[in-house]
């Protein structure tokens, strides 16, 4: 009888340990936002690299604000020799996407025209940095 009880208690112990591990794992996944990926994508604006030496086809989503550039510390790394370390900022305000050149050396072009002040972007607009062309989706 005590044997049975001990076995039972042991299994309960193991069960509780697993319950605990599961709780922690779940909390980590919510913290990392693994559950909220789809929702966030809908609220952000997608940008695709349509022309690039090495990054053609890459896409990223602007939800809040992003800095693009050739620096490792930029939010999105641009592999383009004509890009500055921190070349431009893409930000969303009230559902609109805004491009802001950060005083880059070689400039930012929207639909072929160089921009120096913050400019609203629409779907299908082409943003060019050096030899890289991005399209707003």
């Amino acid at each position: 009888m005590p044997d049975l009880l001990l076995t039972l208690l042991r299994l309960i112990f193991l069960g509780l340990v697993y319950l605990f591990v599961w709780q922690v794992a779940r909390s980590i996944s919510t913290h990392l936002g693994l559950g909220g990926v789809r929702r966030r994508r809908r609220s952000g604006t997608r940008v695709a690299l349509v022309k690039s030496d090495s990054q053609s086809g890459a896409t990223f989503t602007v939800t809040d604000s992003m800095v693009l550039g050739r620096s490792d510390e930029a939010d999105f790394f641009l592999d383009d020799p004509y890009a500055s370390d921190f070349h431009l900022r893409l930000s969303t305000r009230e559902g609109r996407l805004i491009v802001n050149d950060l005083g880059s050396t070689n400039g930012t072009y929207v639909n072929g025209r160089r921009v120096t002040t913050p400019v609203d972007l629409n779907r299908g607009d082409a943003v060019q940095v050096g030899k890289t062309v991005m399209e707003v989706r």
Partner: protein, 432 residues
């Protein structure tokens, strides 16, 4: 996790440890005694204390590093208590001391800021090397600090406090200093180390001049292997160095070079040293070397085999047959008494803690913070891998403490400080 779940989980971890101790009690004497309450209190005060310190000094720190670590510590404590109640009593104090030191580290960083760790870089390296060399002090003599040889390795020092003697493994603290040093060194030197490579055909090799530090650390870790006969610390230091170099530069060549140096060093030390040879034969064929070094590994396998799926139950197995069951082989003892299910739960906790650590590193924007978080997590992870891998015969056995589980004050103190540093980095990054 909402941050508010963390205290609940920590109480849960303490309750689990107390439950485990009550099972041990129950198996031994049919009743429970005061140890259950003491265990609950100790784990709760230790980890609750670190939690309160985090709230006070690093409120933005990630909330899910402490809970898995608390469960690991609780699990280890149950097994230590079951094997050696006297040592468990000491471990209790070490848990509290370690937690207090973690709080001190958090408070110090809150006061001075993480960047202050980057000052006095060379002093840190010197202190680390000094600590590593300390066990080589003569074991006889009038000095208040003496080197001590335990199980053939010279890792311990004995500090004479006139009232009592304190044994300590200075290498456990040296590891942390080494990581902090490397993080600040590599953060400053990154541009120089990056892109300094030479192409030979399709192979990219680091510039020979850049391999200098690599060779130096390699020689240093071989020196530890020779002078202290400690395979674990020697391998750990070199692996951490290579991994951090790779992370800082992204140059795969360092991994190739480091791997080759490990291979050369491994084969050479296998041929030259008896103690390495015995480890390797115990790894390849523990039952063939049963009379010698294979005994421990073989007993561990017997234990885990007996434990089967759900274990024999705490207090009902015979893990005391495994030599060093409360230190190096605690994983095998858990495997015997809690079975495969218990070991997987332990591995799960380690995986969660390590994933959280790497997550902190990935999210860090500051180069020094990133390297520091990576290096600390890597030290934690590689120790876990080396010793569990050694017990399971994945790699040759290296005498390293299983973080937060093995009995051992110095390791516990070192690992508490490691966790405190990780928490401080995550707080700093969240508030930048």
């Amino acid at each position: 996790m909402t941050r508010d779940l963390q205290p609940t989980l920590l109480v849960g971890a303490a309750a689990l440890a107390a439950f485990g101790v009550s099972l041990v009690n129950f198996a031994a004497q049919g009743t429970v005694d005061a140890q259950v309450g003491l265990t609950f209190g100790t784990v709760l005060v230790a980890f609750g204390g670190v939690f309160v310190a985090t709230r006070r000094f690093a409120p933005e720190a990630v909330p899910h590093l402490l809970p898995p670590v608390a469960v690991i510590a609780g699990f280890g404590f149950v097994e230590i208590f079951r094997l050696n109640p006297f040592r468990a009593g000491l471990q209790r104090w070490w848990l509290l001391i370690g937690a207090a030191l973690a709080a001190v580290v958090l408070a110090w960083i809150a006061r001075n800021g993480l960047p202050s760790l980057r000052r006095y870089r060379n002093t840190q390296l010197l202190v680390a090397v000094g600590l590593l060399l300390m066990p080589l002090l003569p074991s006889e003599g009038s000095l208040p600090i003496r080197g001590l040889e335990v199980n053939g390795s010279r890792l311990w020092i004995e500090i004479d406090l006139y009232i009592t003697q304190l044994n300590f493994q200075p290498g456990e603290v040296a590891k942390l200093l080494f990581v902090v040093f490397l993080a600040s060194y590599l953060a400053d030197r990154q541009p120089a180390l990056k892109g300094a490579h030479r192409r030979i055909g399709r192979l990219t090799l680091p510039e020979p001049r850049q391999l200098g530090p690599l060779l130096l650390v390699w020689l240093g870790s071989l020196g530890i292997l020779i002078s202290q006969r400690d395979l674990g610390a020697s391998l750990l230091l070199f692996l951490v160095f290579v991994a951090m170099l790779y992370v800082a530069t992204g140059e795969g060549g360092y991994l190739v070079g480091g791997g080759m140096l490990i291979a050369i060093g491994g084969v050479a030390s296998w041929q030259m040293f008896d103690h390495v040879q015995r480890r390797v034969s115990a790894w390849l064929d523990p039952f063939g070397a049963f009379e010698d070094a294979g005994y421990q590994v073989a007993q561990g396998i017997f234990g885990m085999g007996t434990g089967s799926l759900a274990g024999s139950g705490p207090g009902l197995g015979q893990p005391e047959l495994i030599p060093n069951a409360i230190t190096d082989f605690i994983f095998a003892a858990v495997g015997e008494e809690f079975g495969f299910a218990g070991t997987v739960a332990v591995l799960g906790c380690y995986a969660l803690a390590i994933a959280t650590g790497f997550g902190i590193a990935l999210r860090s924007r500051d180069r020094f913070n990133k390297l520091l978080a990576f290096g600390l997590t890597f030290v934690f992870a590689i120790q876990t891998f080396l010793i569990i891998g050694g017990v399971l015969r994945v790699v040759p056995l290296t005498g390293i403490a299983l973080p937060f589980m093995s009995y051992g004050g110095s390791a516990l103190v070192g690992n508490f400080m490691l966790v405190a540093l990780l928490l401080a980095v995550s707080h700093e990054e969240a508030t930048r």
